[in-house]
C-alpha cells in the first residue's frame, strides 16, 4: 500500500501544505521545530485516526485557527481518498473514506497498516513491563481482531474483580466469596486464552526479530525475546497453573484488595547472546534492538495481513553511526514506502538515494522538493 499524496491545512506549522510522495523512500529534511515530524504525525492520523505521540488533537491545530484537515490519497489495488477533519470548538474528529463518513475508528484500523519507529520507542527496551506489554499487544492486535477483543474482555473482568476484592476487603462479607470464585473462573477463561496466544506470538515473532537484527548489525549478536508469565507454563496446562497460582495468592489478594495474578503482570525479557538487554545492554544495543523490533513488526504485519505497511522513522539516523545508517538504508530497500525525517544530510551518503526517492525540505511549515 502506498500513500501518493497528502494535503495539510492548519496542521501545526503547516497552514497549507500539499505533497506528492515517492512510493520508495521519502526523506524529510529540516532543522528543529520546522515541521518535519508534523508530516509523519499527519500520515499516522490518516492511517489510524489516532495520534502518534499521545499529544492532544487541539494542540495540533495551527495557532489562532479552530480546525485542521488532513487529506490523502492511498493506492493499493484501487485508489482510496481518506480525510480527517478536526473541529477544536466541538473537540470532535471526523473521518471520511472516499467521501463517506466512518463513525467507528475500529473500521479504519488495519485498513491502512502502518509501523512507526519513533523517539519514545526507547521505553520499550528500557521502560517498565507495561511498555513491553503495550508493544506486544499492539502488534498482536494489528494482526488479530480476536486478540484485541480478548484483551478488552480480560481488562473488563479485571476491573470487576478488583472492585469485588476491595468490597470484600472493606466489608469482610463472606457471602461475596462465592461471587469472587465466579469472577476468578472468568479471569481464568480469558486470561488462559491470552497467555496461550502470547506464547505462540513470541515464538513466531522471535524469528522476525532475529532476521531484522542481523540485517542491522555486523556483529554476530543473537537477539531473543523470552515471554515471562506464570511459572512452568507450557501452553497445555495454562488454565491449571493459572488456577494454582490464584489459589496460592488468594489471601494476599484479599488482604490487599487487588488482582495479583494473571497476564496483566506479564513481561517480555529481551536478550542479546543470552545476556539480558535491560541489565547489560549498551545504548547502541538498545537502539539496535528497538529498530529490530519495528522492522520485525513491519514484516510480521505484512505477512499476516498480506498488505505492505507504510513505514515511519522519526529522527533515528542522527543517533546512528555511518555503518548502521548504511545497513538500515540497505534494509529499507526491502520495505515498500517509507517516510524518514532527518535534521541534516550528513548520513545521506549511506542512504542509497536514487531517482526513485523524494527529498523534501521543510522550513517553518513551508516545503520544497529538492530533487
Amino acid at each position: 500500500m502506498v500513500l501518493k499524496q497528502i494535503e495539510l491545512q492548519n496542521f501545526r506549522l503547516h497552514k497549507n501544505t500539499s505533497l506528492d510522495f515517492s512510493d520508495k523512500l521519502n526523506l524529510i529534511v529540516g532543522g528543529n521545530g520546522q515541521g518535519k515530524t508534523s508530516i509523519l504525525e499527519a500520515i499516522y492520523y490518516l492511517c489510524t485516526t489516532k495520534n502518534l505521540n499521545m499529544s492532544a488533537e487541539e494542540d495540533a491545530v495551527t495557532f489562532g485557527e479552530s480546525n485542521f484537515s488532513i487529506g490523502g490519497l492511498f493506492n493499493e489495488l484501487t485508489e482510496n481518498k481518506a480525510r480527517l477533519y478536526y473541529d477544536s470548538i466541538k473537540n470532535k474528529k471526523y473521518f471520511f473514506l472516499d467521501e463517506k463518513q466512518i463513525n467507528r475508528s475500529t473500521e479504519v484500523i488495519g485498513k491502512f497498516p502502518i509501523v512507526s519507529l519513533i523517539q519514545s520507542d526507547h521505553a520499550i527496551t528500557q521502560g517498565a513491563p507495561s511498555e513491553r506489554r503495550r508493544f506486544v499487544d499492539s502488534v498482536a492486535s494489528q494482526a488479530s481482531r480476536t486478540y484485541l477483543e480478548l484483551l478488552l474482555d480480560y481488562s473488563k473482568t479485571l476491573r470487576q474483580r478488583s472492585s469485588l476484592l476491595s468490597q470484600i476487603k472493606e466489608t469482610r462479607n463472606n457471602v461475596l466469596f462465592e461471587q469472587l470464585d465466579a469472577w476468578t473462573e472468568s479471569l481464568i477463561t480469558s486470561g488462559t486464552e491470552i497467555i496461550n496466544r502470547r506464547i505462540k506470538f513470541v515464538q513466531e515473532f522471535n524469528v522476525y526479530v532475529k532476521e531484522a537484527y542481523s540485517s542491522v548489525v555486523e556483529l554476530i549478536e543473537k537477539p531473543h525475546i523470552e515471554y515471562q508469565t506464570l511459572a512452568e507454563i507450557d501452553g497445555e496446562n495454562t488454565a491449571e497453573k493459572f488456577r494454582e497460582e490464584l489459589n496460592a495468592f488468594r489471601d494476599d489478594e484479599l488482604r490487599r484488595g487487588i488482582n495479583l495474578v494473571g497476564p496483566h503482570r506479564d513481561d517480555f525479557i529481551f536478550y542479546i547472546n543470552g545476556m539480558e538487554l535491560k541489565r547489560f545492554g549498551s545504548q547502541g544495543q538498545h537502539k539496535t534492538f528497538q529498530i529490530a523490533l519495528r522492522f520485525a513488526q513491519f514484516f510480521f504485519i505484512k505477512e499476516k495481513l498480506g498488505k505492505t505497511p507504510i513505514f515511519l522513522m522519526d529522527d533515528v539516523f542522527g543517533e546512528l553511526d555511518t555503518y548502521r545508517a548504511g545497513k538500515i538504508s540497505e534494509y529499507l530497500l526491502q520495505i515498500g514506502q517509507a517516510f524518514i525525517t532527518m535534521t541534516d544530510l550528513t548520513n545521506k551518503d549511506g542512504l542509497n538515494i536514487t531517482s526513485d526517492n523524494t527529498l523534501i525540505k521543510v522550513e517553518n511549515g513551508k516545503t520544497t522538493f529538492a530533487n
Binding site: R145, K156, R159, Q160, Q167, E178, Q179, E185, E193
Partner: protein
C-alpha cells in the same frame, strides 16, 4: 423563545424517555396536541394502565397482570424447565421464537461489582427456592455473552451444583441467515474459540 408552558412541560417529560431527544420530543408533543382528544385519552389511559395494572410475577418476575404471569399459569408449558434471563425484554425476545416451551426466571440484572450489583440484589435466591420446591429438572442460562453475563452464569452454576438439576448455557456463534463471509471478525473469532466437536 417563549413556548406555552403546558407544551414545554410535555416536551420536557417526553425527552426523558430513552432514545428520544429534544427535537423528537417536540415533534411528538406537537403531534399529540394536534390529535383528536379520543386518541389522546386512549394514550393517557394506556400509559396509566401500564403502570397501575402491570406488576411483576411473584414466581418468575416477568411482567404480569395477575399475581402469576400467563406463562407461569399456562398448563401447556413444561413446568420442569426454567430459562434464566437478565431482563423482561429477553423473555419477549425468546417468546418471539416459539422455540422454548418452559418457564422463565428474570434475574433483574447480572453481577457487576463496579456498579455495586451483587448476588443478593438479583433474584438468585428465589431461583434456588423455585428449583427446590417445584421439582425443576433443567435450568437453561440465557444471559448476554459478555464478561458480566458469563460470570453470572458461572456463579449460578456453582450455586446449583449441589441441587439435582441439569444446567446448560445457550450456544454462541454465527448469526443465522448471514453468510460466514459477512460476519464481523470478532464474532467469527469467538465462534472458533467456542467450536464444538461433532
Amino acid at each position: 423563545m417563549l413556548i406555552a408552558e403546558p407544551l414545554q412541560k410535555a416536551i420536557d417529560e417526553l425527552s426523558k424517555l430513552p432514545s428520544v431527544g429534544r427535537k423528537t420530543a417536540q415533534r411528538l408533543a406537537l403531534h399529540i396536541l394536534k390529535s383528536d382528544s379520543e386518541n389522546v385519552d386512549a394514550l393517557i389511559n394506556a400509559l396509566g394502565e401500564l403502570k397501575s395494572k402491570i406488576r411483576f410475577c411473584s414466581v418468575c418476575f416477568n411482567i404480569s397482570v395477575e399475581e402469576k404471569c400467563e406463562i407461569c399459569r399456562s398448563q401447556k408449558r413444561d413446568h420442569s424447565v426454567i430459562c434464566v434471563v437478565e431482563e423482561v425484554s429477553d423473555v419477549i425476545a425468546i417468546e418471539n421464537t416459539n422455540e422454548f416451551n418452559g418457564l422463565y426466571h428474570v434475574l433483574g440484572g447480572v453481577l457487576n461489582p463496579l456498579a455495586n450489583v451483587s448476588a443478593d440484589s438479583l433474584k438468585i435466591k428465589e431461583l434456588v427456592d423455585r428449583i427446590d420446591q417445584h421439582g425443576i429438572k433443567e435450568v437453561i442460562l440465557a444471559l448476554n455473552p459478555d464478561a458480566e453475563g458469563d460470570t453470572t452464569s458461572l456463579y449460578i452454576t456453582r450455586i446449583l451444583k449441589e441441587h439435582a438439576v441439569k444446567i446448560s448455557r445457550i450456544a454462541r456463534g454465527l448469526p443465522i441467515g448471514g453468510d460466514l463471509e459477512f460476519a464481523d471478525a470478532a464474532t467469527i473469532g469467538r465462534a472458533f474459540i467456542g467450536r464444538i466437536s461433532l
